[in-house]
Structures are given as C-alpha cells and as structure tokens.
C-alpha cells in the first residue's frame, strides 16, 4: 500500500496554491506535513483525500491512479482542526455513523464502536451529545469516527490546534499509539515542530505551497537540506547569521566572533543556522563558543528560559534548560555549541562538509 502524488499542482484562478509536488507515502507510516498557516497543508490533504482535484498531476494509491475518484469510494477518514461531529447524534451514533452508511450489521457496529470508544476513553459518555462534552472529548469522538472504519488513509488536519495546552499534550502522546498495528497510511498536518518530533515517522516540510524536504523526521530535523526546511522545522525560530570563511577560520560578519573549522570548503561567505537550544547559559559540547549580547526579553516557562538578545546588528534567541533570570538591558554572556551549527551556502543549500 502506498500513496503517491505525481507532479501534483493546484491553482485557483491566477494563484498557485501548490507548486509541482512529488511525494510518496509508504504503507503503515505516519507522515507529518509541517508548515506554517497557508503553507498549503490543508489543500494538499484535500487533494490526497479526493475532496479536491489537482489542477495538474495524478494521485496514485496502491499502484492505481485514483485522480478524480470520489472521496466516498476511497476509504479515507479525516479529522479536522474544528471538532466536527453530527450535532444531534450522541457519541455512540456519531462513532457509528460511517459504518451505518456502508451497511455494516448492527452487532458488528456495536462491537467496533465499543472497542474504539474504549481506546479513546469515551466509554462513559456514549449517550451524551457533542455539545455536552469538553473540547478534548469532542475531538476524541471525531478521532473515533475516523478510526472506526478501517480506512486506508487517515488524514489529520491540525487536530490538536483548538485544544488547550494540557489536553493537547495528553492527546498528542496518545496519537502515535492509536495508529500502531493499523494497516493504513496516516498523514498529520501541523504547524508545530514539536508535534513532528513527538510523532516521529516521516516529515515533509512545506513552505508557501512547496515541499522543501521529505524524509524520516529525525533526519529532516538533524540534516535539513536547506535553510527554508531548517526554519520551518525550528521553534523558537532558528538564529541565522552571515559568516565569512577564510582558511580554517569562520567568523561572524556582524561581530568579531570567530571559530575554527576543519573543512575543504572553499573560502567565501556562508550562512550559519543555530537552533535556539544550542545557545545556552552554560557550556555544552566540546567546542563551545562564547557570545556576548544585550538582553532584549527574558521569558521563563516552567523549566526553560528563553533569552532574546542582540549581538552585532542581529537579534538572537537562546533556549536554556532551567531557570536563568536575566534583566532586560543587561550585558550577558552565553555559550554556543558549534558542533551543532548548520552551514548554508548562498543558495541556502546545506553544506555538510564544513
């Protein structure tokens, strides 16, 4: 089983929503579509589902061309950002609705609804209507509806975006388990890099209607093929600075800071991408670099400290574990782990061999 987009393109009027896209999802995988709002995640999912037709290109499922085949014939389910349930059905009937339409017999329905309700912790509220449930329970009901039929393709369009923080955390941890041992392809759209890391599987980074990179989630994270992919997959945003390489020495253009590298890369200007958690108030790694700056904002959240500071003419973001109180305007010293630096050339491609 596989889902394949072949040269898919979507235009609405003069506007291009999805640029030519080739993508292949394999059997029994979870695939994250990671991108900001309006990157084209929803459009892409609707094309995959058959709710929308591509302007050009084809969709292949199980080695069969399914472009233009209606959604009802494709055995897909979808969960949305909004909690979509039938408002006048109770939870049981809501979960049973996709089965009833396809004419599954009533004992079988009872059996399957019971199982899926158990899985999603909905058993005590099978007789309640959606408007009597909390947001989290409403979304669980919607998830149950998607899981109850044995779909070949399950599409989740930012399913956690409308939930409050605690419920989101709770459901996010359960999600990957729900799809274990299921014979299907799961596609999960999100704007949150942390969702992608937690869910694992495969990730495709999207920017303005283009797939930037597609691969195993950790590989995409650790080895972004380009600056764009790294930016999409970094929250808080990645620090980017221009550098000059001369011989074995790299130096920031905006500051005197320099460090040694061993590389055959030719001399010239590059960009360095530094994830916020690689700039910390304490030393990490064997090649630690000191950077000084003026504190702009200092935010504490639970067990992490986010410090925004200026160095040269750039604004930097650092993320340290633990609570580190800094005063606004204060001169401070932080440490960068230069082992984790990502180098990009003038075309924003990753250059590995610095």
């Amino acid at each position: 089983m596989s889902l394949e987009l072949r040269s898919v393109e979507k235009k609405v009027g003069q506007e291009t929503h999805i640029y030519e896209t080739n993508l292949k999802f394999e059997k029994n995988t979870i695939n994250v579509l990671l991108g900001s709002t309006l990157a084209g995640k929803t459009t892409l999912m609707q094309i995959m589902a058959g709710l929308d037709k591509p302007t050009n290109g084809e969709i292949w499922f199980n080695e069969k061309n399914v472009t233009g085949v209606k959604v009802q014939k494709r055995n897909v389910s979808m969960v949305y950002q909004q909690f979509i349930n039938y408002p006048n059905f109770n939870v049981y009937d809501n979960i049973a609705s996709p089965l009833k339409i396809t004419g599954v017999d009533s004992n079988e329905i009872k059996n399957r609804v019971g199982k899926v309700a158990e899985l999603l912790k909905l058993s005590p509220m099978l007789n309640k209507r959606p408007n009597e449930l909390s947001g989290g329970q409403q979304q669980r009901t919607a998830l149950a509806r998607a899981l109850v039929k044995d779909s070949d393709l399950i599409l989740l369009d930012e399913p956690l975006a409308n939930l409050d923080f605690k419920l989101r955390e709770e459901l996010r941890e359960e999600l990957p388990k729900l799809f274990e041992d299921r014979d299907c392809i799961v596609v999960y759209a999100t704007t949150e890099p942390s969702d992608a890391l937690l869910i694992g599987g495969y990730t495709a980074t999207l920017l303005e209607g283009k797939i930037v990179q597609h691969g195993k989630t950790l590989e995409v994270y650790n080895k972004p093929n380009s600056l764009q992919s790294a930016q999409v997959f970094s929250d808080p945003p990645m620090n980017i600075a221009k550098i000059k390489k001369e011989g074995d020495v790299c130096s920031l253009i905006s500051d005197q800071l320099s460090w040694k590298v061993h590389s055959k890369l030719k001399d010239g200007e590059y960009k360095v991408g530094i994830r916020p958690h690689n700039i910390t108030t304490y030393k990490e790694g064997s090649n630690s670099l000191e950077i000084s700056g003026k504190v702009l904002i200092s935010e504490l959240s639970g067990s992490e400290s986010l410090i925004h500071f200026t160095n040269g003419d750039l604004n930097w973001v650092s993320l340290s574990n633990g609570i580190h109180q800094k005063n606004v305007g204060e001169q401070t010293k932080l440490f960068m782990n230069s082992d984790e630096f990502l180098y990009f050339d003038e075309t924003n491609k990753l250059v590995n061999n610095v």
Binding site: Q46, L51, V71, I84, P87, S97, P98, I101, R129, E132
Partner: protein, 288 residues
Amino acid sequence: MNKTVNQKAWLFVIPVFVLVAFNAIIPLMTVVNYAFQETFGNNVFMWEGTRWFKQILLSDRFHAALGRQILFTLIILFIQIPLGIFIALTMPKEGIGVSVCLVLMSMPLLIPWNVVGAMWNIFALPDIGFLGHSLNALGFDYNFTQQSGDAWFTTVLMDVWHWTSLVVLLSYAGLRSIQPAYYQAAEIDGASRWSVFRHIELPKMKKVLTIAILLRFMDSFMIYTEPFVLTGGGPGNATAFLSIDLVKMALGQFDLGPAAAMSLIYFFIVLTVCWVFYNLMMKNEGQS
C-alpha cells in the same frame, strides 16, 4: 472591613425605571385598571372583579376570533418556515448573486405594513387588480371582498410575500455559519443530501430557526395593519383576527372593560406560548 450601605446607588436606576414606566408599566396598568372595572363618563369607575374576564373567556365571539387567529398563525408558520429554509438552501453561496438575492429578499421587509395592505388590496381587486383580474380571466371565481375563502387566500398570500424573507435571511445566516468541514466530513462518510440537511444543517440552524419561529409566531399572532387595510376583517367576520376584533370592541363599541380583559388574555397567550416554546427548544442546548 465593614461595607457601608449606600442607598444612593438606586438613583442610577431611576432613568431606566422612568423609561420603562412610560413605555410599558403605565400603559399596561391602565389596561389592568380598565379590565377590573366598569367605566362611565366623567371618569367614574365601578369595581367589577373578574366579570369581564369570565365574559370574554365564555363568549363565542372570542372563541371564534381566537380560532381564526390560531388557524392563521399555523398556516403562516407551516408555509413560511419550510419555504424560507428551502429558499435559503437554494440561494447562491458566493459571488455577485449573494448580494442580489439578499437585497431582493430584504425589499418586502422594508415596506411599511399599511402600504403592503394597500398594495395587495389594489393588486387583488377582482376588476382592476392584476392578480384579481388575471385569476378571473383564467376562469377562477375570485373575489376577496365577498368570498371568505378568497379573503383568507389573499391574506395568507400577502403575509407569505411580506414575511418569508425574514425566515430566509435568518436561515441563510444560519447556513453560512456552518463550517465547510462539516460538509466534507459528511462527504467522506458518503452521507446523502437529505442526511446532510437532517443531521447537519437543521441542527446547526436550530437557534436561528427558534428565533425565526418565535418572531413569525408573535407577528402573525398579533397581525393587525395588513388585514385591516386589505379586508377590514371581512367579508363579515371571516378575517377578523384577534387584534382586529379587539379594536372593534374597544374603539368601535367602546366596551373598554371587556376589551381590556381581552387584551390581557391576548397578551398572556402570546407570552405563555413564547415562553414554553423557547424553553422546549433550548432544553439540552448546553454551552455550544
């Protein structure tokens, strides 16, 4: 810390109290005053207790008017609510057509009630009116000034023309507020058009439809101006609905006592029906 009691705060309530007193309490109490007393000239009043209420509640005339009123309101609701929903469903969802339809739909609502009555009176006149003349030319024996069936037909038609738009506009607003994801989810399930209407659109429109039904109930149950101008309650008493009958009693016969009692009963019926209906509809609605 002890809180000091400051009665001055009541002063802030005075403006509202005065306003409500003038537009509601004083007129209503005047009616209550008349309802329990017999009035003679020179403002001489005599206590009558519940006599007028008994008289009204037992009178055939009141029963007949109430019967006509209930029948009229039921016909109006059974035509306008489904028709309004149907039109709202068929209206365009985007583009220039939306504005065109909304403006067209709002037109009847903007015309003053007495003008509507006068318009339809002329429109339906059997000899010179377009509707009346055409119907007769087609072979129907139509004369709303003489045949009570025709008078009812014309009154209902006029009200449908005048007020269905209100139901359309409310339903349309309700339909537009349904997120497209609901339709997609139904499409994925393979739900039929009827299921989409029955299980998504109708429940989602429940609140606006409750308001629409309440408004149409109140307005049609208290209808006065349009039938007064169109038929004057005739022929005979065929279209003498409660309000028309009430005005006849109060200002025609100058029976202020019974008319006041009838007003209160009338008011009480409208209030009770609205209250019961609203509570029934809003039961189990929760927070959504």
